[in-house]
């Protein structure tokens, strides 16, 4: 990165908001996917849309690739820097601009945390629905980039269902407004396209979201089962009864033990636990909750624990939401995937994952959104043992092929990022990817905006991009492709 470019950055944001000392850059080498690291040439910390615009224009002129970054909690390497490129860290764009309770809209800058939006409106009885596990620290800008979900998206949908409008800086530095406080912008839904585009189309600088009225009642239960199939059967029965819970989560014994060690949620020592939460009008919740309790009992639940207080509920959720980080208590390293399968095929895919666990010798914890088939296998490994890191990646890729084979997806909420771009051909044909690329070039003809993400490239994925590699388990004859 040449001196003139750095000077240009300093003129825009001041000396203190441009980082290029190697020591200062360390923080920005990776996001929540810590095994992928790149050092950016510099990091810039804008404080306004005008700053972002000037920075992006400078990048466009100098042909410097840039990556927008929120709070770095992403799990797919979406904020992985480009070697020699610039990181635009949006943490200083953290103002709440407008809270409109009467119209149930809030406008914020991208560096505001997800939970801060709820904090702003909670005194009025409102909340912001998407609740990724990292909601205390993740930025709403990152949520927009990744189309984040969370435990409650079975009923309430994802970020894309809650964002009404954005202001964004296009890769040539022009500002564009998509959607807004009013719904139904005429024409193709460019906003819906932008949400979830993983920072590859534009840098979002303002976001208007809708907020929801707190439901009248929330009821949460935790049921323990001896087998994952029994728990899965309960979920099928709940959905089959026409009930759409606010959340349906499952954890297996390894995940339960890890959570217990980390945050002591007082989970039962079981093979599988199921967390079901219903919310809504009191009459509805109490009627349906009784049905859910009954279903769990009929499916052989060994215990059914109903949260009696808000504190009790919070403790259950603390255990669930801590599950990823808690893996650190039972394994030196872990790698989390988030493939999706049609919910009805969960038992079959989980059986395949079990077989893979035995064949690979790596422990795999399972935490998943059972209502929508979104798996979060946590693959435990020890990077100090030669070959284990690579093996963990292989196991993860194998699990993704199971998901795609079952008619599912590579990712339910974490994004493709740099992590899974090489697997995209498993899910999309070259024609599918070519059309997406064409759309990308409409926004970013020079491919400067977060390049190297989503799309497989020969440089990163080898000459023949593709997911299929024979797994050691297949070579050993203990697993086969169905």
């Amino acid at each position: 990165m040449d001196r003139a470019f750095l000077e240009g950055l300093r003129r825009i944001v001041g000396d203190a908001a441009v980082l290029h000392d190697p020591h200062d850059l360390l923080t920005y080498e990776c996001d929540g996917l810590a095994h992928l690291r790149e050092t950016p040439a510099a990091v810039v910390l804008p404080s306004s849309t005008a700053d972002v615009q000037a920075i992006v224009k400078l990048c466009a002129r100098a042909q410097v690739p840039f990556v927008a970054r929120g709070h770095g909690t992403g799990l797919s390497g979406g904020a992985l820097p480009v070697p020699g490129g610039l990181v635009i860290a949006l943490s200083r764009l953290n103002r709440v601009l407008h809270v409109d309770i009467a119209n149930q809209r809030v406008t914020v800058e991208p560096g505001v945390t997800n939970l801060e939006i709820t904090r702003q409106v909670a005194p009025f009885g409102y909340y912001y629905a998407p609740d990724p596990s990292s909601q205390q620290i993740c930025s709403i800008g990152g949520n927009v980039a990744e189309n984040s979900g969370g435990a409650h998206c079975l009923k309430y949908g994802f970020t894309v269902h809650h964002v009404l409008g954005v202001e964004a800086v296009l890769p040539d530095g022009e500002v564009v407004h998509l959607g807004g406080a009013l719904v139904d912008t005429p024409g193709p839904d460019l906003l819906g396209l932008l949400v979830g585009s993983e920072g590859t189309l534009a840098v979002v600088t303002k976001i208007t979201v809708r907020i929801l009225r707190r439901p009248e009642t929330v009821q949460t239960l935790l049921a323990a089962f001896d087998t994952i199939d029994a728990g899965g059967g309960a979920v099928s029965d709940i959905i089959g009864a026409g009930i759409i819970p606010a959340a349906v989560e499952m954890m297996d014994s390894l995940a339960i033990r890890a959570a217990e060690a980390a945050v002591h949620p007082n989970f039962p020592d079981a093979d599988t636990i199921l967390i079901v939460e219903l919310d809504g009008p009191a009459a509805e919740v109490s009627t349906l909750f009784a049905i859910v309790v009954d279903i769990c009992r009929r499916r052989g639940a060994t215990t059914v624990e109903v949260a009696q207080t808000d504190e009790h509920r919070a403790r259950i959720w603390r255990g669930r939401k801590a599950a990823f980080a808690a893996m650190g208590r039972v394994s030196p390293n872990y790698y989390v995937q988030d493939g999706v399968v049609p919910r009805t095929r969960l038992p079959e895919v989980l059986t395949r994952i079990r077989a893979l666990e035995h064949a690979s010798g790596l422990r795999i914890g399972n935490v998943f959104h059972a209502g929508d088939g979104n798996l979060h296998p946590l693959i435990c490994y020890d990077e100090r043992i030669p070959g284990q890191s690579a093996k963990a990646v292989e196991v993860a890729s194998e699990i993704l092929t199971y998901c795609v084979d079952a008619g599912g997806s590579l990712t339910g909420e974490h994004g493709i990022g740099a992590d899974k771009s090489c697997y995209m051909p498993a899910m999309f044909s070259p024609d599918d990817l070519a059309l997406m690329q064409r759309v990308r070039l409409v926004f970013d003809p020079r491919s400067l905006c977060n390049p190297g993400k989503i799309f497989p490239t020969p440089r990163l994925c080898g000459e023949v991009p593709g997911p299929y590699r024979r797994h050691p388990a297949e070579d050993a004859g203990v697993a086969e492709r169905m």
Partner: protein
């Protein structure tokens, strides 16, 4: 129902496989022949008047429900299937695709998605763009592609199913689409809440938005007295020209519906001049009449959006005789305008300048009106992206005969 803009020279192509759709797209593009994609044709009159149409791509032979994965609450359907047929199939297993757009009995899935059209059910379930999970498209280069997926949760790749929602057939042909489904509620009741004037209407909207009641539909309905039943009485001076109603539909288990109706009745005590509760056949007839009322009347119909708590300000922009039906808590709906074209154009201009109203699009209007006003309205700083998107998908500019929005 609108008349089509067919001219005698228009070729009609009726593909029955995705491959035939793609081939027709490529042929039209290669030969530079103007092509319009149609389903049932219910919205053919929307948008700008069509220029010459060389080819009409009629999707109605692609009309199957390809899969109904009821345990997964998803279905994949072909674009030419009517919403009604799809829901007939899904309802056999107690599920449905909860969309109620204009002309819901005839409209096809492809047309509904291409226009992203919705109705009262949007309050609970969202618009088609909120329910779609994945899409198969045929582009003008003759290629079949897909985006999204068949599972309810998926963020792999760009979600082109959103891009296609609202594209009005200007970018690509929709071949099939996968949607998220919902169980059909066991019971339903609708409250018709009459109020005296704009101020009371606003009060009802604000109070219900702030309540913890969870209606399935929540509509504002402003009708001209001239189209009212002549037997209506007790017309207050402040509402001489219009009648103001709010419709609240509750659907769930029977006990829940009754509790919600009771809760809403209590909450609206003192504001409403009358509250009727209907169910069963009468309820179905009420919603049927709501769906068609504006379209059955004369005049122009425009789509508009507003800040929901500012509904009174919206109504203050409308002349006597105008009617409005919309989603109370979302702030979106239809306005029917009487008068001659010059008057309609004046009101449209006024709405577009109002700080409380936006995204005003003329759906139905005479050729004279559509010559007087910009049908789609200004696209602002989005225009550059939209033009580039059009060029990327339809480089020869053959799709949609200038009807817009692209």
């Amino acid at each position: 129902m609108q008349t089509t803009a067919d001219t005698p020279a228009t070729d009609i192509v009726q593909p029955s496989t995705p491959g035939e759709v793609a081939a027709a797209m490529k042929r039209a593009s290669d030969e530079g022949r103007s092509m319009v994609i149609r389903g049932a044709g219910t919205k053919m009159g929307w948008g700008r008047p069509a220029a010459r149409i060389d080819v009409m791509l009629d999707m109605r032979r692609l009309n199957r429900v390809l899969t109904h994965a009821h345990g997964d609450l998803t279905a994949t359907v072909e674009a030419g299937a009517t919403l009604r047929d799809v829901n007939d199939t899904l309802s056999r297993l107690g599920q449905g695709l909860p969309i109620d757009p204009a002309f819901a009995d005839e409209a096809t899935i492809g047309g509904i998605l291409a226009t992203n059209d919705s109705g009262p059910l949007r309050h609970r379930y969202g618009a088609p763009r909120d329910l779609i999970l994945g899409v198969h498209l045929a582009t003008t280069d003759g290629v079949l592609t897909k985006a999204g997926g068949q599972v309810v949760k998926n963020v792999a790749g760009y979600d082109l199913s959103k891009l296609i929602a609202g594209s009005f057939g200007s970018l690509a042909a929709i071949v099939s689409a996968t949607f998220k489904l919902f169980p059909i509620p066991e019971a339903s009741k609708t409250m018709r809440v009459a109020v005296a004037d704009e101020a009371s209407l606003t009060q009802v909207v604000r109070r219900m938005m702030g309540s913890q009641l969870e209606p399935m539909a929540f509509e504002v309905d402003v009708r001209s007295r001239s189209t009212q039943n002549p037997q209506s009485k007790n017309v207050s001076a402040s509402a001489a020209a219009s009648a103001f109603n709010v419709l609240l539909r509750f659907a769930s288990l029977p006990v829940v519906v009754d509790a919600q109706v009771a809760g809403a009745t209590e909450a609206l005590k003192g504001i409403a001049t009358s509250i009727d509760v209907v169910e069963g056949y009468a309820e179905r007839m009420l919603w049927r009449a709501q769906a068609t009322r504006l379209w059955d009347g004369a005049g122009a119909i425009v789509r508009a959006s507003w800040l929901p708590a500012s509904i009174a300000a919206v109504l203050s922009e409308l002349p006597a005789g105008a009617e409005l039906i919309g989603r109370a808590a979302i702030g979106a709906g239809l306005v029917r305008l009487d008068g001659d074209e010059a008057e309609q154009a004046r009101v449209i201009g006024q709405l577009r300048h109002s700080p409380h109203v936006g995204n005003v699009v003329v759906l139905r209007g005479s050729a004279a009106l559509k010559a007087l006003v910009d049908v789609w309205g200004p696209q602002g700083d989005r225009q550059r992206l939209l033009s580039a998107m059009k060029l990327a998908f339809d480089p020869n500019g053959v799709l949609n005969a200038g009807r817009g929005p692209l």
